[in-house]
């Protein structure tokens, strides 16, 4: 499933389109401690977080994440959106909590209704 399809299926608000919307998502990573994300997240995963400023774009680039979805209505700051657009990193916002996002993404990737 591509990130674009996932975003549409789960009704995410697009804050930054990203350079390769057709790239497929390999899985998900849920977490807010940046050092943990750097250590454990894998390339191609979509990152579920409430961290909406500072270095999330750099982290996404370093790990090679598919994109970032902000949970619980959190939105990226303008500075982060600018950086995301320049870097080509997709950033979305969702009103679902992190728990619900993880659940729905997992089901979507497994081909079930979400």
């Amino acid at each position: 499933m591509t990130l674009q399809e996932l975003a549409r299926a789960l009704n995410w608000d697009i804050q930054s389109e990203g350079a390769s919307p057709e790239a497929s998502v390999s899985g998900g990573y849920c977490g807010d401690l940046l050092s943990h994300v750097l250590a454990s997240a894998k390339p191609g995963e979509v990152w579920i977080t409430i961290q909406h400023h500072a270095n999330i774009i750099a982290v996404a680039q370093v790990v090679g994440l598919a994109g970032i979805v902000l949970a619980a209505g959190v939105r990226a700051t303008d500075a982060v959106v600018d950086r995301a657009r320049t870097a080509g990193v997709p950033v979305f916002s969702s009103s679902d909590t992190a728990f619900a996002l993880a659940g729905r993404i997992e089901r979507a990737l497994a081909g079930k209704t979400c």
Partner: protein
Amino acid sequence: MRLDDVATLVEADVLAGAGRGELVIDRAYAVDLLSDVLALTDERTTLITGNVSPQVIRVAEILNVIAIVFVRGKRPAPSIAARAEQLGIPLLSTKKTMFETCGLLYGNGVRPCKNRPVETME
């Protein structure tokens, strides 16, 4: 789901509250940051977290959290497990990631709970 079923589903060890297998787990919240935990408005929620700091059990007590599932193989210090036992708050620890744990629980009917809407600095 019952706590026992949760432990089986996510292959978790029970670190506290072994006698409370019948506890109903129907709402959960995934969280790492302490400030996010404090934004919880629903009571009787289960926390899914990688944060093993002593603050987590104290906030759980203040907010009436009913159980905590530690992910990514994290285990809190024995003093925290002892405190949880005293408070009657079961602690589970799974090697699975937060994403996988949430996915499994969600897929088995555990629902998201509400938190206070977040105000962000734009």
